[in-house]
Amino acid sequence: MKRTYEEINRKIEAEDAVVMTAEEVLGLIESKGIEEATKEVDVVTTGTFGAMCSSGAFLNFGHSEPPIKMQHVSLNGVAAYGGLAAVDAYIGATELRNDEDMSYGGAHVIEELVAGKAIHLKANSYCSDCYPRKDIDTYISLKTINQAYLYNPRNIYQNYGLATNSSEKTLYTYMGKLLPHYGNVTYSSAGQLSPLLNDPQLRTIGIGTRIFLGGGVGYVAWEGTQYKTTTATKNGVPVGAARSLALIGDLRGMSPEFVRALNFQKYGLSLGLGIGVPIPILDEDMMRCVSIRDDQIFAPLLDYAVQSRNRKPIKEISYAELRSGCIELHGNQVKTSSLSSYYKARIVAGQLKKWIEKGDFTLTQPVAAMPKERAQKPLEVMSMEDVV
């Protein structure tokens, strides 16, 4: 059987669409099979809540009297990039207020903006005939500024490597605190609920796809940085990091429940974001895609004591085993920890399901597809002649 986006949207608008989360649909597939489940379900919602380091927000502060260009901008003491047109700035989630004290930065400013709090804005600039003012010191909030939208160059990785530590000392990494002597294993994917694992070839997800972003509505803007299609697959899904997406969405409408500053001690900051993507069940192939389960999704275990981009995987482990709380490694039982919250991923997928059921959120057909083939290049130190 086949379904079009138009048919699905007509049903959504009539509040007639049948929507299930990527977790709920597994039971239906098991009891009724792919064919029957395809007939019954129009949309499957996915969700994830995890550390999305490559995130940030564009802000437009409005013009002061007299006007200022705003060359150097800080928000609660955190530097924002002002090398844009006057009074535009970009605040990156990982920017630190202070390199020694890594506990506050861009992610906190973004969370506080979303929470409606006052933010201390300081800016200075060279002067020109257009912009005579030299500096400004004031407060802003989401209420006072013009545009405020997230533009995240690299979010919702399709899958991600697992981390452990063979060394003698504790390591503080973006995969969390790793205890010595293979003391623990950390992972970071919503697995069977994860957006890009439920449509592994990105057949229905492309530029313009409307999504749940941070509790509000957002869109897929572009392929994510480091997007790659060359990762080996198992059961139809990549084993390890593969595709990622660039996302965009209005900070207004987002909620601190789904936009959370994260501090990875002695590593740096990140932004915890709740993201949900609807998958239209266009045919049985799409239903087969969303039937993926945690026991079919694998990720490579990497030793973070090896400080090189070429870490050899120790072994591949399924999300079902990771979620059991313990995995087997070199004959020992090692405890596991998730960095992304399955609890919140469920809430995201559930909320998106409610929006669609109530007719508040219709699906979009991608304006353009994501690249079918893309390899990731490393950075080598080369001469001017080498690179042209």
Binding site: K177, L179, R260, S337, L339, S341, Y343, K344
Partner: protein, 134 residues
């Protein structure tokens, strides 16, 4: 035998008093000092007392008479439920399984009776939801 958790706060002049020695000697208690923070405005301690219930009571009276502020604790750390995202990072970090995830709800809860106040989970929690009660 009973086991109880306490937070002690004392002024600088008491820093050199042999308080723990007296508790061991006079009240026959096992004292486990789990955390101590001492500076020029005084000090704070998280301790566990183990011994006969009436002896624990008497030791607390002795401490109070010595101008030590005593507060009985149910838990050594506090998990801020608004800040906790239930990610589970703290789970593999905790040496005594005092952080655990409900297999159905996927919510992470703190089991104060197991906690030994080692503090390893505190800097491991990405949203900064865990803090000592010191």
């Amino acid at each position: 035998m009973a086991k109880k958790k306490f937070q002690l706060s004392f002024t600088p002049d008491l820093v050199n008093e042999p308080i723990t020695y007296r508790m061991v000697k006079d009240y026959d208690l096992q004292i486990n000092i789990l955390r101590a923070e001492v500076n020029d405005v005084g000090g704070k301690m998280l301790i566990e007392m183990q011994g006969k219930p009436d002896m624990i009571k008497k030791a607390v009276e002795y401490l109070k008479a010595s101008r030590v502020e005593v507060r009985e604790l149910k838990a050594y750390v506090k998990k801020d439920e608004d800040r906790c995202t239930h990610c589970g990072m703290c789970i593999s970090i905790c040496p005594v399984d005092a952080m655990c995830m409900d297999p159905d709800t996927k919510m992470v809860s703190y089991l104060p009776e197991k906690c030994i106040a080692c503090g390893t989970c505190i800097d491991a929690c990405p949203p900064g939801a865990i803090a000592f009660k010191i």
